[in-house]
């Protein structure tokens, strides 16, 4: 425990009945860093996230935030220290977007110097839903709704900060239902949170997006940690091809960031002749 502000999983294992979901995973995220959890379906990304958020208790090992075992914290104490955005947040809630975002203020104490109204306004803007503030949540599209919940989580982070917490933000597939522009909106907001010194852990499927957005990537496979490190080191064609079981090309953009591209055809005689690890000149950048 050299750095007391870490969010860490220490040798955690998790199983449901006979199915082992995680096995001996140790991973630590640092303040100010964005750590992406990547890997194939069923690799244990969401399970690891739920352990890091204190929702699940590992069968073995423990999860700690700033040196404190998450299992020893009450739900309220946890809510003040970390916020979580689920992959599938509630659809059918009888609130407006503003009311939903304001629910994030729940962990704030009565005497805290927390300006709920200001925090809500700021979060709505950061999540790009300020024009939807008075719309009923159930009338929104999937992506709009997701951003409304993201605003709620940002408010909770601010409320947690007012209570001396707000240390970590955990996002499960925050971009899955978003268009390209709004992916950028949400990820920029998450980066801003990290820039203010919080820990950001995010589950992402899109490896190129992860490479562009995260400081480090943890690759999970079959419930174990396959690799962790800077995107350029972790995302190699050989490793990804072995991990996902399909040919995957890793190219580099002008700044050297990995761009991950599967090389498979949906047709029998697909063209497999792709030059790997080769820089490309013009690529859309986040």
């Amino acid at each position: 425990m050299r750095d007391r502000a870490l969010l860490e999983a220490r040798d955690v294992s998790l199983s449901f009945g006979a199915a082992t979901v995680l096995q001996g995973v140790s991973l630590a995220a640092r303040p100010g860093e964005v750590l992406a959890l990547c890997g194939p379906n069923g690799a244990g990304k969401s399970s690891l996230l739920s352990i890091l958020s204190g929702e699940q208790r590992p069968r073995r090992g423990d999860a700690r935030l700033g040196g404190t075992d998450l299992a020893s914290l009450s739900p309220l104490a946890l809510a003040r220290r970390r916020v979580v955005l689920e992959q599938h947040p509630a659809i059918d809630v009888a609130f407006t977007v503003r009311e939903l975002a304001a629910l994030g203020a729940a962990p704030a104490g009565f005497d805290a110097a927390f300006e709920e109204q200001a925090a809500v306004d700021e979060a709505l803007e950061q999540a790009g839903v300020e024009t939807l503030a008075d719309r009923a949540v159930r009338t929104l599209s999937g992506g709009e709704r997701h951003r409304a919940h993201f605003a709620r989580v940002l408010v909770q982070l601010a409320a947690g900060r007012a209570e001396g917490g707000g240390e970590a933000m955990l996002l499960d597939e925050p971009t899955a239902s978003l268009d390209l522009a709004h992916q950028a909106t949400v990820l920029r907001a998450a980066r801003a949170v990290a820039a203010e010194g919080a820990i950001v852990v995010v589950v992402l499927h899109d490896l190129s997006l992860a490479a562009a957005f995260a400081d480090r990537i943890a690759l999970l496979a079959d419930g174990a940690l396959d690799a962790v490190g800077a995107p350029a080191d972790v995302l190699t064609s050989a490793r990804l091809s072995a991990l996902y079981g399909v040919d995957i090309a890793v190219e580099r953009d002008a700044s050297g960031r990995p761009l991950v591209r599967p090389v498979f055809s949906l047709f029998e005689n697909g063209d497999q002749n792709v030059h790997r690890d080769e820089p490309v000149q013009s690529r859309q950048r986040l």
């Binding site: 003040r80 916020v83 809630v93 009888a94 609130f95 407006t96 729940a106 962990p107 009923a136 919940h149």
Partner: protein
């Protein structure tokens, strides 16, 4: 019902400012109060507002009644009835509100956790087997056997539902899911109604008539002592449930999101279940199971003031009170001096409303 119409028409995109919503709560309070006053004045003997105010003033100051007949009717028949109706309605509505929030299901009502089933078993047991069970009991207890047994039946079955759900979820390693609670409630309800069926089978004609009327509810039979107990218990339940407004808001986001937002889900579930059961059981014990209020009142309130529980709960309580008082008024004035059971009126309001809700829900726009 222009308020309701305005509320329904505002369901679309136009949001209600919270100031306007607060006005609606006040309007609901006025409507409930008007029904209550009408309930005190109307009946086989019509009384005037002046007689009502004089009687209340005299009773409050302990003065000799100047109009003994009106005083007797008001103090011993109509005011107890109105007070009981208002509190039973509020208790049922708030319990329904809490259950709809907890189960995140607009069709949920307190019946789901076995309250009504337990109360029915208790009451029917007292009616059918009372002669045997309470043969040794002091004579003063006999009139209270049915409400007391109904209350303990409700408490017992609700406790069983929660305990079984807890054991089941401990067994599966999941933190007590709402689905387990729901299924435990369904199973215990089936068992409870089998017991009721057995008791009906062995009952004689008079008992059968008594228990049939009991199951349809009624505000007429209660005296002040039992009303006072019911009012006290319902008040405690209402205050406790209302204090959980924020947790209920967060529970609407799902158990996971609620937990991540700082709600101790298992604890809230116990608190909500216990006080919903208390609020319903206390009312059912004295007035019988009055159907549909727990389902309908929270919905009407939600259409008027929106989903946020801080405003929804007072609105639902007032709506429940107004509905019960209105239904009681209706059954007493339709065929005086005959008095059909109040359950007929509430079911006639509630049944069609429930169907309307189902159809709207199928359209994917449910409240």
């Amino acid at each position: 019902m222009s308020v309701a119409r305005r509320a329904v028409s505002s369901l679309g995109a136009k949001p209600w400012l919270s100031g306007e919503r607060s006005v609606i709560v006040v309007v609901l309070g006025v409507v409930a109060a008007l029904f209550g006053i009408a309930g005190a004045l109307l009946g086989p003997v019509s009384l005037s507002l002046e007689q009502l105010s004089t009687t209340i003033l005299e009773a409050a100051t302990g003065a000799e009644p100047s109009d003994p007949v009106a005083t007797a009717i008001l103090l011993h028949v109509r005011i107890p009835r109105v007070v009981l109706g208002a509190f039973v309605g509020a208790g049922l509505a708030l319990a329904g509100c809490a259950m709809q929030g907890l189960f995140r299901n607009p069709l949920a009502d307190p019946g789901l956790i076995g309250v009504a089933a337990g109360a029915t078993v208790g009451a029917v047991t007292a009616i059918v087997l009372g002669g045997l069970l309470f043969a040794e009991a002091p004579a003063g207890f006999r009139p209270y056997a049915t409400p007391v047994m109904a209350f303990f039946g409700a408490a017992l079955v609700t406790a069983l539902v929660f305990q079984i759900a807890k054991v089941a979820s401990d067994h599966t390693g999941q933190t007590g899911s709402v689905a387990t609670l729901l299924l435990a409630g369904v199973a215990l309800q089936a068992i409870a109604f089998a017991l009721v069926g057995a008791l009906i089978y062995i009952s004689d004609d008079q008992q059968l008539r008594d228990l049939t009327f009991w199951t349809m509810g009624g505000l007429g039979g209660a005296d002040w002592p039992s009303i006072a107990v019911a009012v006290a218990l319902i008040t405690i339940a209402c205050l406790a449930l209302t204090s959980r407004a924020r947790a209920l808001d967060l529970l609407l986001l799902g158990e996971r999101a609620a937990f991540c937002s700082g709600v101790d889900v298992a604890r809230e579930k116990r608190i909500l279940g216990a006080f919903a059961a208390l609020g319903v059981a206390a009312g059912v014990a004295v007035a019988g199971p009055i159907g549909f209020i727990g389902l309908v009142a929270p919905h009407m309130a939600r259409l008027m003031v929106g989903g946020s529980h801080a405003l929804l709960m007072p609105a639902a309580a007032l709506t429940g009170a107004a509905l019960v008082l209105g239904a009681d008024l209706a059954i007493r004035t339709v065929t005086p001096p005959a008095e059909p059971p109040i359950g007929l009126a509430t079911s006639l309001i509630g049944g069609p409303f429930f169907l309307w809700l189902l159809i709207r829900r199928r359209g994917g726009r449910h409240a």
